[in-house]
């Protein structure tokens, strides 16, 4: 798999979707440089446990990974997962754009021929 560098645009788009401000910041921090949870906890003036909980949520989403270094665990960002998720959601968005366009066509037809009800096509062509 080819790993590309994230462009600032891609990073912006992806982070836009991250609902929690603290978690978004954590991802941003650890993408730049792996950090220990205690370092992160100092940054947010939060308890170790609270940050650990946020990191666990990010880890489950594969947005970060944890690696042990001595007594500490370092949190690393996973740009590949972020990119992949963003790209896939874009593809799914495209499917929905197609669908909305097709629904519009159907609704426009309904207006011009309000008599078409929900019969089977066979019944519709009957005498």
């Amino acid at each position: 798999m080819v790993v590309r560098e994230l462009s600032p645009d891609e990073v912006d788009r992806i982070f836009h979707g991250l609902a929690d401000a603290t978690r978004r910041d954590i991802v941003e921090q650890v993408l730049r440089e792996a950090q220990s949870i205690s370092t992160l906890a100092r940054r947010y003036e939060m308890s170790f446990a609270a940050v650990q909980k946020h990191v666990a949520v990010l880890e489950r989403a594969a947005l970060v990974t944890k690696q042990r270094r001595g007594r500490e665990q370092l949190v690393h960002g996973n740009p590949e997962a972020l990119q992949r998720a963003a790209r896939l959601l874009e593809d799914y968005e495209r499917i929905w754009r197609h669908r909305v366009r097709a629904i519009e066509d159907i609704l426009a037809e309904d207006v011009s021929s309000p008599d078409i009800r929900t019969q089977d096509p066979e019944e519709r062509t009957g005498p």
Partner: protein, 161 residues
């Protein structure tokens, strides 16, 4: 087109899609409730859907298949989990084998559809939730091909013009 908002949350693996239509809520509800209308928009353009069963009640099952450009068929199913006509619909959407029975090894998506009056028209909000990134990848494989073809077609048109 009247797509007014798209919110992607790669962390929660949800896609929220908001669109507005120039038609009353009851008519937009029909494109979900009526299988003959539904099958005209559910599949990607080159993979039209055919609904062979559509039990539009809570707990009801739908069975459909989509036919690809080479005549290949991809089966799917819904189970309706909530209905509040004509404002709210929730269902699980998954893959089916050749026999039309749900393929439990394949991913399922949960969809929540909300219709509300907006001026003289209707605002439709769909929230799709995926269970994992791998699932999302498999689900979009078909759409990606389609998107690619469409993009190439557009490039051709631009070059020809």
């Amino acid at each position: 087109m009247t797509v007014i908002d798209v919110r992607k949350d790669p962390q929660a693996l949800t896609l929220t899609f908001v669109a507005e239509f120039e038609a009353p809520v009851e008519r937009v509800w029909e494109v979900w409730a009526d299988p003959r209308r539904l099958e005209r928009w559910w599949g990607p353009p080159t993979w039209p859907a055919t609904f062979v069963e559509h039990q539009f009640v809570v707990g009801g099952r739908s069975r459909y298949y989509m036919t690809g450009p080479e005549g290949e068929k991809a089966g799917g199913w819904w189970v309706i989990t909530a209905i509040d006509e004509p404002h709210r619909l929730e269902f699980d959407d998954g893959f089916a084998g050749e026999d039309g029975e749900p393929n439990t090894a394949m991913p399922t998506t949960h969809a929540v559809v909300t219709l509300e009056a907006a001026g003289s028209g209707t605002r439709m909000t769909t929230v799709s939730t995926f269970t994992s990134l791998e699932d999302l990848e498999r689900l979009t494989a078909m759409g990606m091909e389609e998107g690619m073809r469409e993009a190439m077609g557009q490039i051709d048109a631009v070059l020809a013009g």
